[in-house]
């Protein structure tokens, strides 16, 4: 398998008037790899994807897709398939008509198109819905059809923008299976998402953008292990927001707010179970009602919370 990078981004910078959207972002993506590009709204994800897809002209830095400039070279754009955030299909047309149409747009014709449509329907599991108009499909089936429409020209890079938005757990598992199948076929997959848990479960590597800068990058498990080692997370779910006395008790045990509403408090420690037992006793003695106290392994979400806390403290 060719392991030469399919996407290279060097020091990407983009400004919109005085506002800096991207500040020197680097990114490399290789065939057969799933990369999760994470970040809150306004972090610069869409700008970076726009530059990779050739829709946006960077104000600094460079982008290469398959070694070519995607903005000026159609051959670079021809190796990528985009699954936009919206379903982006013709609602009145059936799934197979849509696939034929997007095949034509991608320059696939005749027998090659018939085979491509068949393969895309098979890979995405959308075959049994191929004769239904898109507007009559469930959200899950629409998403499958949307992915199928992006892979007809056998792209080497698939970009998915918020693919799991609004999906329930079952549909998300199906989607993940489709994406893994595509990866096994050698495709590089770039998933743009705000959903940390989804990215952590699916991606081989993640990159976290914050205010236009790349904050972290690596395999989710490795990043979490490097940051926390043997530590586990103690989470206290209070029944109601604590008063000043309760807050000082929680703080004295080294807990910090895990959310904006002060209902959930957390702490990372290698002795998490012992701390949880002690906390349970002390909170009862103080008459503070809790919904539950749990100990769990830290996640990517925990890591990002920790990083955010560090930055705030700094």
């Amino acid at each position: 398998m060719n392991r030469r990078a399919i996407v290279n981004v060097w020091g990407a910078e983009y400004s919109l008037g005085p506002r800096k959207i991207l500040r020197g972002v680097d990114l490399t993506l290789r065939p057969g790899e799933i990369y999760g590009l994470l970040g809150a709204s306004g972090a610069g994800k869409s700008a970076l994807v726009g530059a990779i897809c050739g829709r946006l002209k960077l104000t600094g830095g460079e982008v290469a897709v398959d070694g070519r400039d995607p903005r000026n070279d159609p051959a670079a754009r021809a190796v990528l398939g985009l699954v936009p955030r919206k379903i982006a299909l013709y609602e009145r047309l059936t799934v197979s008509e849509n696939l034929r149409a997007f095949g034509w747009f991608a320059g696939v014709r005749g027998r090659a198109l018939r085979e491509a449509v068949d393969l895309a329907l098979r890979l995405t599991g959308a075959r049994d819905r191929q004769h239904l108009p898109v507007r009559r499909l469930s959200d899950d089936d629409r998403r499958r059809a949307s992915i199928a429409a992006a892979i007809l020209h056998r792209p080497r890079l698939l970009v998915l923008d918020e693919p799991a938005a609004g999906m329930d757990a079952g549909a998300r598992e199906t989607l993940d299976a489709v994406i893994r199948t595509l990866r096994e076929a050698g495709m590089a997959v770039l998933i743009v998402t705000r959903d940390l848990d989804h990215a952590a479960g699916l991606a081989d590597r993640v990159g976290v953008l914050r205010q236009g800068r790349k904050l972290l990058e690596g395999a989710p498990g490795t990043l979490v292990a490097q940051a926390f080692g043997e530590e586990m997370e103690v989470l206290v779910h209070l029944a109601e927001a604590p008063d000043a006395i309760a807050e000082s008790l929680l703080s004295s045990e080294g807990l910090a707010r895990a959310g904006k509403d002060a209902i959930v408090w957390s702490r990372f420690d290698a002795e998490a179970h012992a701390i949880a037992e002690r906390l349970d006793r002390r909170l009862r003695e103080a008459g503070l009602a809790t919904r539950k106290i749990e100990v769990r392994p830290p996640s990517l979400r925990s890591l990002l919370r920790l990083v955010a806390d560090w930055r705030e403290a700094a």
């Binding site: 050739g54 159609p74 021809a78 990528l80 985009l82 013709y90 047309l93 997007f102 747009f105 020209h153």
Partner: protein, 237 residues
């Protein structure tokens, strides 16, 4: 790619009952009611057919051109442009479809005119076809330029409605007398439908040939091509 967009537009058109009725059924009906109520014949009938067909061609072109905005809003445009193709073939494919749609619509109106009022359409078919083609090209170019320039569907619908109303008032002399000015007759030639009516009347009533109607054809074709050029320029932004 141009043909691909043409095929997609055609497929969507065939799946849309409202589009089918408003293109193939409504225009001939409106013409027949108008021509019958007026008790007209000869030139007046040709003018009625020309007015009805041209205004409906403009309305149908605008409805089709709105797909530019719909595709932008739905993400379809992003999907198409992320591949190797640019915006050019998308616009050209839509232009080609709107042109064919306009000719078919005008054909439905003039077929009704020939069947009911015995207009000599088939005897002058090539000249009629050339006129219908440039009229449709004009409407397609204008509609694509307007749709391309508007950010939202609502604004495009509002502006196109206003433009078609103004064309109808100016080009067909439908403005109330209270609004008439000394230069109103001159203003008529700013409306493409006035050129279309003159061309249809010249070829079907007066038996004129290309030597007489070429100016009208040239004006309509120039407006259409200018609109197409604007649509391309706006899409490339």
């Amino acid at each position: 790619m141009t043909l691909a967009m043409f095929r997609v537009m055609a497929l969507q058109f065939l799946r849309d009952p409202v589009a089918l009725v408003s293109t193939l059924v409504l225009p001939p009906l409106v013409f027949l009611v108008w021509a019958t109520r007026a008790g007209t014949g000869g030139e007046a009938t040709i003018r009625a057919a020309a007015t009805v067909s041209t205004l409906f061609v403009m309305i149908a072109a605008m409805r089709g051109a709105l797909s530019l905005i719909d595709e932008r809003d739905s993400g379809v445009a992003d999907r198409i442009l992320a591949g190797g193709a640019g915006t050019g073939p998308v616009i050209n494919g839509k232009f080609l479809f709107l042109l064919v749609q306009g000719v078919v619509l005008a054909g439905a109106v003039f077929a009704a005119a020939q069947l009911v009022h015995d207009l000599p359409v088939t005897r002058r078919i090539w000249l009629w076809l050339a006129t219908a083609t440039v009229v449709s090209a004009c409407a397609a170019g204008l509609a694509l330029a307007l749709a391309g320039a508007c950010r939202g569907r609502r604004r495009a619908v509002l502006l196109s409605g206003a433009a078609i109303l103004l064309f109808a008032l100016a080009g067909e002399g439908l403005a109330p007398r209270v609004l008439a000015t000394p230069w109103s007759p001159m203003l008529r030639w700013a409306a493409p439908n006035a050129w279309a009516s003159e061309a249809y009347v010249a070829i079907l009533q007066r038996g004129a040939g290309p030597a007489t109607v070429w100016v009208a054809w040239a004006v309509l074709a120039a407006i259409g091509l200018a609109g197409l050029a604007v649509a391309h320029a706006v899409a490339r932004r």
